[in-house]
Amino acid sequence: MIEETAQLIQLAWLVPLYGALAALFSLPWALGVFKGQKPPAYGGLVFMGIGFGHSLLALIASLNAPAPMRISIPWLNAGVVDLSLSLLFSPLTLGMLTLVTGVSFLVQLYSLGYMAHEDGLPRYYGILNFFTSAMLGLVISDNLLITYACWELMGLCSYLLIGFWFHKSSAAEAARKAFLTTRVGDFLLLVGIVVLYVTAGTLDFAALGAWAETAQLAPAFATVLTLILFAGPVGKSAQFPLHVWLPDAMEGPTPVSALIHAATMVAAGVFLVVKLEPVFALAPLTLSIVAWTGAITALGAALIATVQNDIKRVLAYSTVSQLGYMFMALGVGHPEAAVFHLFTHAFFKAMMFLGAGSVIHAMHEAEHKTHGHLDVQDMRNMGGLWSKMPITAVTFGIGVLSIAGVFPLAGFWSKDSILHALEKEAPVLFTLALITAGLTAFYMLRQFILTFLGKPRTKEAGMLHESPWMMALPLVILAVPSAAAGYWGNNWFLKEEVAMSIATQSTIAVGVGFGFAVGLYILQGNAMLKSLAPLTQPLQKLFYIDVIYERTVVAGMKDLGILTAWFDKNIVDGLVNLVSTTFWAGAETLKYVENGRTQFYLLVVVSSILTLGIFSTLGLQ
């Protein structure tokens, strides 16, 4: 029995391969060898279903297994480099496998409905599955370089999916922005990996942990090393100051936003810091920077989210903000709280993105019927969808309550866990986190009110229908863990006592946030909103961060390129041409290039022999 269990767990290395196989399967259709749109989609669903089943069985088996299991396959040996494909199967990694395959399956099912009328479905499913495969690889990887490899591959897939509608210039721009912004973080991460490898002599997480226990590093060195390592997560998890790409990434299809830019890839940064926790622990200063980065991001993004009108952008900023919470927990040395929030957030944020997609999909159809031209993602064009799309509305409502942290939904438990950690370690951060919790409640309820309550504000909004079952079913399924995962998680894994004082404080914050939302948007606080307008100006402009980047880094890089190219053409090559012209002018026979080939060749041979003759005579003497 134990052997069977062990085998079941060890065979979990197959799980990432299911995604890769699904991607390969869709290749002939994507390349146009076979005609048709749907077969790769069905293939993807089958593979991902198998993957989910396998992960779930392995997870259940691992709960009874005595110790985590590892697999190691030699991969790269050269000189001092000795790297293996190391995989780790623990309840945590297998749980993540289950989560990722599960969400990916639901997103693919949902996409059947959402993308039904799209051209390029095989390409879509191929990349989506390839992405899932990379994410699964990252989850079970037990080696920093393999993690980095999967990390980069996810970045590639994210680039391709954000740019899925490549005809749209805004999508192309957003795709490039996402890739390059994260690349800046990844560059530093790679530097960090190289330095860490040189210093520690290994990149296996387990070995790194053992090394970190006894390592004697100069504090300054440890701080710099961990900070450049942290740059990677900052980019990938869209933390300040590299957060600018995530809201723009909403140019991609909505299911992609749900899977990649809410539930999985953006959480990879958190996951990496968790795995490198022993190394980060060497530098207390870095840890507090991690916590403060999280706090600034959480608060800033929540503030910006309060004035967004695009249904997806609100969710995007909310994701950035929630990831900030996780980094706060990591910074104060409570990775278990961060991981807990990562799990619950994955469920409710995926569900809300899919819910937003459901609304957008319906709005699109309505717009199609009326031949109107309106922004189908703008919440000001919606209103009163409650009665027309009940499933979407109810599930979205659960999500709103959950993310706001209302007892006893999932978000309450995980946010409480983080607040608990913060209260013990850093009172200032705790206060910021509480304020953010209030803001979260405010903007999420504002979103719900603008979208689902009141009366339809456009003709289109009045004629919507509930989405087909492929889209509604994933919403319903995800609603279950969005509501209950917190309770389960706390009772089965974390086993933490709920502190009444914190629960009370957070509930008060949520109540205040809800109160403002109701006051401003239901009780018609229009006059109030108008008077607040000057205050919201910096928020509308996203704190001017995008503009600053545009004018400094982006423009600077462009100018530097132009300058170098000019220098190369006019100075370097100009000098070369000048020299050759002078040379030609001096040598009568070589004046005309066309006539001089052979002679010139001879001249060079003769002159070199002469030079050598002189030199060697000198040398021999």
């Binding site: 790269l76 000189g79 480099v81 999967c150 391709l160 005809h167 790679l190 390129g561 190219a565 030199f615």
Partner: protein, 499 residues
């Protein structure tokens, strides 16, 4: 006497060239192509045979053939192959076959064209396999003439300027090489040009430094190192696709191979003291060429600058003089050969079918009906590989170089890693401008490439991913020879200290 396999690899292409030259009557392009392809495939099979019989556990040169040639001057005809030259021979053999595939439609003076390609192959193979300095020099010069003709006859509008520029630069570089080679001969007093013998010679440090500087300038022009690089973008822009493939894929490697084999191999102590110069030059190469690539509007010129930048990683690897870095350098030579060849092929496909390479005029090539979606897929893969995407060969090579170089040259290494960001920037600009968006209406009708024209790119893409996923295939070939080279450098050091 066993079958002289190395001579066969070198001269089989020349035989093909001879057959084409002596072909009775007019040969149309199909016949010429057929002969060339058969010869190239024959050469490839010979090099595969060589690989299969190669002993990967030996640090020595293998299949050595050595005959006294010009006895009085100590010039020998001697060829040998080791784990550093073998991958380059294989790369050359593969790329020559693929470049003939790429030239499938060529109809202008095909006999001359193909015989020049084959002669070029002979020169390159000879240079990689030669163990004698003057024999190397001979082959090195032999490769030059065909390449000049290939650019100057089959090139674009400014082909004569570009061809002449290439010729002058390379001849100029030859002078430095010849000075270094001849002075090594005279100063050593061993009356030989055989590098295994010369490696045992006792050169004074100043002389070593002088020779290494000569070699670095000479080979630096070939690599090319900034500021001797301006011939390359011109040559690439004017050369036909197949020739760009060979130029970027194989010919640039003669430069880095030369520095490694002759510079480091013969003058190890000078290499030790000048390694920081090499590392600095490498970093300058990476940053300067990448920045210059940023502002290019001609796709091919951008790729050419990219190719220059990425040769910098090879030089950085060589500068380490340690196993890890040198392994990385050899890996990067092959990886660069595959990736840049693929990039030039893709640019060629774009130019052939969209009739322009101007990034200001192109757009929307991902489009399924009006564009070139398959080409786009290849371009994404190649661009990502070039930017160091894991899972492809470039990442492994660059990681080995960085890991090897960081301890000795931390700043140069970090600068070089930053080069991967710059690479991503300009290639993403290229993708966005040429492939994203909509097809501009003023663009002429885009033709559809035949399936055959994808064959070379597909093969290269497989190599690129294969080496990225199973890097030990490559490191296993070069491991022993690189280790041998490092040991040899170490013993030279120790021997000197003993004296």
């Amino acid at each position: 006497m066993n079958f002289p396999i190395l001579s066969a690899v070198v001269f089989f292409p020349a035989l093909g060239a001879l057959i084409l030259a002596l072909w009775p009557g007019e040969a149309d392009h199909k016949v010429a192509r057929g002969v060339a392809l058969a010869t190239a495939i024959g050469t490839l099979l010979l090099s595969l045979f060589l690989t299969l019989n190669f002993d990967f556990n030996s640090t020595q040169g293998q299949f050595t053939e050595s005959f006294s040639w010009i006895h009085q001057l100590g010039i020998t005809y001697s060829l040998t192959v080791d784990g550093i030259s073998l991958p380059l021979v294989l790369l050359t053999a593969v790329l020559v076959v693929l470049s003939i595939f790429t030239s499938w439609q060529l109809k202008y003076r095909p006999r001359f064209y193909y015989s020049m390609i084959l002669l070029l192959t002979c020169g390159v193979m000879g240079a990689f396999l030669a163990r004698d300095l003057l024999l190397f020099f001979l082959f090195y010069e032999l490769e030059l003439i065909p390449l000049y003709f290939l650019i100057a006859i089959w090139g674009g509008e400014r082909r004569e300027y570009a061809g002449m520029k290439f010729l002058l630069y390379t001849l100029f570089s030859s002078v430095f090489l010849l000075v270094a080679f001849l002075s090594a001969y005279f100063v050593s007093g061993l009356n030989t040009f055989d590098i295994t013998l010369l490696a045992t010679a006792d050169f004074s440090i100043p002389f070593q430094i002088f020779s290494l500087v000569m070699l670095t300038i000479g080979f630096g022009i070939k690599i090319p190192l900034v500021p001797f690089h301006t011939w390359l973008p011109d040559a690439h822009v004017e050369a036909p696709t197949a020739i760009s493939v060979l130029l970027a894929g194989v010919l640039l490697k003669l430069g880095t191979y030369g520095i490694l084999r002759f510079g480091v191999g013969l003058f190890p102590e000078a290499a030790q003291s000048l390694s920081w110069v090499l590392a600095t030059l490498a970093a300058i190469n990476v940053i300067y060429a990448s920045l210059a690539a940023l502002a290019q509007t001609d796709m091919k010129k951008m790729i050419a600058y990219s190719s220059i930048a990425h040769m910098g990683y090879v030089v950085l690897g060589i500068a380490t003089l340690q196993e890890t870095g040198l392994q990385g350098a050899v890996f990067q030579m092959i990886s660069h050969g595959v990736i840049s060849a693929l990039l030039f092929m893709i640019v060629g496909l774009v130019y052939e079918n969209a009739h322009t390479r101007d990034l200001g005029k192109l757009g929307g090539l991902f489009d399924r009906t009006k564009g070139l979606p398959m080409v786009g897929a290849f371009m994404v893969a190649a661009a990502m590989a070039n930017a160091g995407m894991p899972g492809m060969s470039g990442f492994v090579a660059e990681f080995l170089v960085f890991r090897g170089a960081y301890e000795q040259f931390p700043i140069a290494t970090v600068v070089c890693i930053f080069g991967t960001v710059l690479t991503a920037i300009y290639l993403l600009v290229l993708l966005q401008r040429a492939f994203f968006g909509t097809v501009p209406t003023e663009l002429k009708q885009i033709t559809k490439p035949t399936l055959r024209s994808y064959i070379p790119a597909t093969i290269l893409a497989f190599c690129m991913v294969g080496l990225g996923l199973f890097p030990n295939l490559m490191t296993g070939i070069s491991a022993q020879s690189v280790a041998g080279l490092v040991t040899q450098m170490g013993t030279t050091q120790i021997a000197k200290v003993d004296r």
